[in-house]
Symmetry: C2
Subunit: 418 residues, 2 copies
Amino acid sequence: MTHDGIIAAARAARHASHALGALPRAVKDAVLLDLAARLEANAGAVLAANGADLAAARAAGLAAPKLQRLTLTAASVAAMVSGLRQVSALPDPVGAVVREQRVPSGMLVRRVRSPLGVVCMIYEARPNVTIDAFALCFKAGNACILKGGKEAAASNAALADLAHAALAGAGIDPGALTVVSALSREDLLVLLEQDAFIDLVIPRGGTDLIRFVARHSRIPTVQHYQGVCHVFVEASADLDLAERICVTGKTSAPATCNALECVLVDRAIARAFVPRLVAAMAAAGVEVRADGEALALCPPGSCVAASPEDFGREFLDLIVALRIVDGSEGAIGHIRRYGSNHTEAIVTRNERAASDFLRRVQASCTLVNASTRMNDGASLGLGAEIGISTSRVHAYGPMGLEELTTVRYVVEGSGQTR
Amino acid sequence: MTHDGIIAAARAARHASHALGALPRAVKDAVLLDLAARLEANAGAVLAANGADLAAARAAGLAAPKLQRLTLTAASVAAMVSGLRQVSALPDPVGAVVREQRVPSGMLVRRVRSPLGVVCMIYEARPNVTIDAFALCFKAGNACILKGGKEAAASNAALADLAHAALAGAGIDPGALTVVSALSREDLLVLLEQDAFIDLVIPRGGTDLIRFVARHSRIPTVQHYQGVCHVFVEASADLDLAERICVTGKTSAPATCNALECVLVDRAIARAFVPRLVAAMAAAGVEVRADGEALALCPPGSCVAASPEDFGREFLDLIVALRIVDGSEGAIGHIRRYGSNHTEAIVTRNERAASDFLRRVQASCTLVNASTRMNDGASLGLGAEIGISTSRVHAYGPMGLEELTTVRYVVEGSGQTR
């Protein structure tokens, strides 16, 4: 894309956003359902485009995990279709009156939920994000600019064609959705300067991408950064439960941001818990990297010595760090130093330890007696999400429909002046 | 300050923030009331420090409007004291449960209001902002770094001394408040890179300062940008009311961000309204810069021809732009092109025109039959505010206590895993 082309696309998105903000719910839902039907009817074409992306990626020698994220299947297309229907069934956040107050001057002051305007999301290879992000942005009344991975160019173009057909069917400005796949770093810098036309940038992907966007964007960003998630096994914990929460937290999806990366064990129960945890992890194929004190409690060869860099690290693999701590104070101190504000859990039967942990550990999600893997939109009752924010500003935790809106003041007066 | 000193201050603020986030309301309110008493008892010392700032500023040839903003008086000290008492009386936002839901897996999911952590505010000469900002940040459980104008260095240091004495009296980490006055642009760049220690930067001041911060900050920002505020006088308007809203909107405080900058008059009533508006503005000492069509309706010499740059301009002076528009469509189109998302008002007796305007103009505050000057925290029922945000992200409009917090997930489980 030329620089002028990037600016023109951002301007077109801003223009489209004015009408989107005032669209009735029925029109928005009809577009989403129409897109679901088109996607169902054209699954073959989408999979063919994805096949072309995969062939090119294999020829270019893309690594296996990236190939896997790039791959669409009949099941993942069906999941996009069902996601669209789910978003169409969610209440419309736009126009909701969040608060209403008659102030002393006699004015009726309402706080009304409204679209952000134009949202730009920058993500990597997964093409299903294209449909999920469009659905949520559109339902929240926003135009969106979706910058997907260049490896997914053909898949994303096929999905965008279907979305544009659904928009055209309802007479909606095509500027409501712009899909961009190939942008040089220099082009990306031009996009990140369009603060006159874009209200929010959401980078989602590797830490290099997120740091690049945060450093160079003149537009506000909400970052979906790494998850260095801990489980603290407190002295009173049910050890069967603790073992299950730790093992599944690591193994059910090791490459996700809410996977467990480090177990903290209260010294009071270390002798009882560490050997069985290490054995269970080994049985599940997980490498345990333990501090010196934990290492001494394990059978020789069952785990390896942790290096200082293994704490505060997102392994994204079947590897977990293990440290013995001095009760709640030790655990909270470790998490404050090494956590990434993503997800932190405690296993305990002591109510006071639980409430202390929940109050003092201020991650986007803190849990008692549940897995860190439960921090996502579906498990927390949001319905659908665009990612998990680790920025405390604007949205903290899973970003659903409401997090893609703002709240503005709407005032009815009767001649009030100052 | 040295670069190491800046980093150390940011680190100390982060450290202090951990304890602040868990402080009970009673402790926070006692500190605010103690500070109010200390400020009352030491008003003389504060005014003496301000006198030294003023003498240095006069010697350096500071312009009159800046001198005026720098000046503290017994009345402005009393206003700070009363502001502290007012903030102490406001409910504590921290810990409020915003939503609570038992999800199908059986987990109890709460969304709990929590501090942002560390807030950095960068502002210009007004020293009273130092106390107002500290009070709101502290009550919301945040540590703050306040970078005031270098002209106000002695005044701000005197105010910070009183605040530190109040914090020490309650045994609170002095890192809860850092006041910085002299920072080179290079030092400011170092401060804006401390995203590990600072959660939010609020620039408040001239457009150059705000642009510099938005361009260079790696930390999320909420901008308090300019107010290019319009009043649209619709065909059905009560013309007496319209005249009063327009004249007071310009004259009551011309240098504020919510002052009126441009009147849009519906062509249908231009002949009746423009001559009387121009006469009333002239009587109030306001220069009217009119488009060609409006100019033709005015007695010769009563107003001047507007240049294209007079639309979309924040005059901050007794000058107002005037344009004739084609009904609501013309007014909304003009505001979308030239408005700054700050405050927009309509004067009308037509309910449909009012609701259409409120729905389609998505500024931080839209008003019907009230002055743009009514967009501030006190008039809208917030109690106290730190400024008016024109960013749609995080906080839109007046920023009070709640806007200095985030909302996180707190989950009580009973063994849920995935």
